[in-house]
């Protein structure tokens, strides 16, 4: 059918709609365009813009066979209380069919404080596992073969220290570093913009990150050295387009920093990975995944002149949207997570964490985690969504939406370039302000009823408080401090002192790669707080930019 004929048909249709809506108006607050036709994608060149899986610009996915080869990695984020407790949960997950581990650390660990620091009071073991030294890391991975499992660690500001501990545990297990598989989040820019667990100012932080890139490319080649995260930007309230735009802008900043440090784009770009949020609007999310791959491929090819295909592939881990879980009628969250899972799978994710129904209330129980994992397995094995590659390609709507999100992302990237890049945009508070404005708008839309959240602003019921929530006992902190004190009494404190002095010197020399020095300190059982303390002393601390 020619475009003229379609146009004529569309006009006829629109006329009929006008009549119909005069009598029966449509629901309020809908997107303006009600129907998509071939006219909406008439300018989209299939070969250039959509293409084929495993081929530039990777709109349809980064692997040629996608889930027909093997499913995505079902990776459940877990960790709480002590290393011993979390080790039990990890082994339970592996036995239940999880194919990768994902470590959650408590906040003192994420901000580089030991459990006995006064500022850690009340936080030890709460949102993740408390790690003070190599001794805790040994317990965390006890009886887990680091040569076989792939481990993702949600750790950013002190990522270098936790990675060093992981390498040191592997050494003790007899697993060489070049066999280690996994990911550290290591994405400091989104910490400044959205997640808040930063320590050092941008410049030394970027140095630590490029040090890791360089060290791993030589010594831990299978390790994903960064997971450039839009997840938390979205959680902080951004839109889908902002999520990928700000994250890709961060990615550009990391590449520029690494190139400035003397690395070649193709030496590290293949180890960059991304982290997206799977939000409520299924089709918008699918389009977001597709658009993000296209934008990144173009950035790598056109801006950085990458040559290796691997450098141009946006590989992504996904987590379902935590902020969309409701405390009201928590079982409804099972359904939300199932739809979000469907979106991530149709979007072509490489790995996925599904949230548990009770996470708006507390850390998930074992039973809730099982339902969340089963959700992935049902989508994988029963739904048929994983049987054909990029099944929504060619949908007028999804293709048009992919184009729209891509366009909006480019506009933001351009704007951020004008400001002077992601670091400058964060220092000026630009990115934070954009996110906050979107978050405020979302909240006002929910409160005005323009947006409906089932159980929250519609279909509410009187509920009994939920029972059987997981609680981390306050005694965990006390026990962990005791463990730490015992460890400190046993270790060779002179060796610790010497290693920390050596690290301090290395910090002061900008041309020195810090990784070997950190590894050295970790092996002496220097604590995370001691190591970060040395770096704090030399680097200073970041002061947040808040502009409400």
């Amino acid at each position: 059918m020619s475009n003229e004929k379609i146009q004529a048909g569309l006009e006829k249709y629109n006329a009929s709609v006008e009549k119909a809506t005069a009598k029966f108006p449509e629901r309020p607050n809908l997107p303006e365009q009600r129907l998509y036709t071939p006219l909406d994608i008439k300018d989209t060149d299939y070969a250039d813009e959509i293409g084929f899986p495993g081929m530039y610009p990777y709109t349809r996915g980064v692997q040629p066979t996608m889930y027909r080869g093997r499913f995505w990695t079902m990776r459940m984020y877990a960790g709480f209380s002590t290393a011993a407790e979390s080790n039990k949960r990890y082994r339970y997950l592996i036995e239940s069919g999880a194919t990768g581990l994902s470590c959650a650390f408590d906040l003192p660990t994420q901000i580089g404080y030991d459990s006995d620091d006064p500022i850690s009071e009340g936080e030890v073991g709460k949102v993740g596992v408390a790690i003070d030294s190599l001794a805790d890391m040994e317990v965390l991975f006890d009886q887990i073969d680091l040569g076989k499992v792939s481990t993702s660690m949600t750790i950013n500001a002190p990522a270098s220290v936790l990675l060093a501990m992981y390498i040191a545990v592997a050494e003790k297990q007899g697993v060489p570093a070049d066999q280690l598989k996994g990911t550290i989040q290591n994405d400091i820019l989104k910490e400044y913009a959205a997640r808040g667990t930063y320590i050092f100012p941008p410049r030394p932080s970027m140095r630590l990150i490029t040090n890791i890139f360089e060290y791993c490319s030589k010594n831990v080649p299978k390790w994903n050295t960064i997971s450039i995260s839009g997840y938390h930007i979205r959680e902080a309230g951004s839109t889908a387009s902002q999520e990928i735009a700000f994250t890709i802008a961060d990615g550009i900043a990391y590449c520029e920093a690494a190139i400035k440090a003397g690395l070649h784009i193709d030496d590290f770009a293949g180890r960059l990975s991304f982290f997206w949020n799977a939000h409520n609007n299924v089709l918008e999310e699918v389009a977001k995944f597709r658009a993000s791959r296209r934008v990144w491929a173009k950035v790598m090819k056109e801006r950085f002149h990458a040559e290796k295909p691997k450098s141009m592939m946006l590989r992504v881990h996904t987590q379902t949207a935590g902020s969309m879980l409701t405390a009201q009628q928590p079982n409804n969250n099972i359904v939300r997570v199932a739809l979000q899972t469907a979106a991530a799978v149709m979007g072509g994710t490489q790995s996925l964490h599904t949230n548990s129904r009770d996470e708006a209330l507390a850390l998930p129980t074992e039973e809730s985690v099982m339902i969340a994992l089963r959700t992935q397995q049902i989508v994988a094995y029963e739904s048929g969504l994983a049987d054909v590659i990029d099944p929504l390609a060619g949908s007028y709507y999804v293709e048009a939406l992919t184009n729209k999100i891509e366009k909006e992302a480019w506009e933001y990237i351009k704007k951020i370039d004008e400001i002077g890049g992601a670091v400058a945009a964060i220092e000026k508070g630009y990115i934070q302000k954009e996110i906050q404005d979107s978050a405020y708008k979302w909240q006002m839309d929910v409160e005005s009823g323009a947006k409906t959240i089932v159980g929250v602003n519609k279909f509410q019921i009187e509920e009994e408080p939920p029972k059987g929530l997981l609680k981390v006992d306050a005694s965990v902190g006390v026990a962990q401090c005791k463990r730490l004190a015992e460890m400190k009494a046993k270790r060779d404190n002179d060796a610790v002192k010497a290693a920390l002095a050596d690290l301090k010197k290395a910090c002061q020399d900008e041309n020195e790669n810090l990784m070997p020095h950190i590894l050295n300190a970790v092996r002496t059982y220097a604590t995370l707080g001691e190591i970060c303390g040395v770096m704090r002393e030399v680097f200073g601390e970041y002061e947040a930019h808040v502009n409400l």
């Binding site: 936080e123 949102v127 959680e235 902080a236 708006a360 850390l363």
Partner: protein, 129 residues
Amino acid sequence: MAKVRVLVAKPGLDGHDRGAKVVARALRDAGFEVIYTGLRQTPEQIAEAALQEDVDVVAMSILSGAHPHLFPKVVNLIREKGMDDVLIIGGGVIPETDIPALKEAGIAEVFTPGTPTGDIVDFIKANVK
């Protein structure tokens, strides 16, 4: 011409300030003067800021689960400074079962996820001294 002054604070270490910021803006739009302290404030810092700013309300948000420890600590420090009439409220990821103990400790009201900001505004208007 008195105005309701509110200190919006994030005690503890969690960096999830979406809720705190949304609430801060909503309180401003309701005509209050809002002092936002930012992340990682110790209970001592929050109490001292409340004193220097002579606020009528202290609103805290915690998503890490550290509320049973930190909320009561802030209440005690504020009362120790002689500010008996400051209204202290809290919010975040807080299990229903924890709420009675928090109220017992002097938290006037606890707002859990999904609370419309209008409810918080109304509560403050009705209870501020």
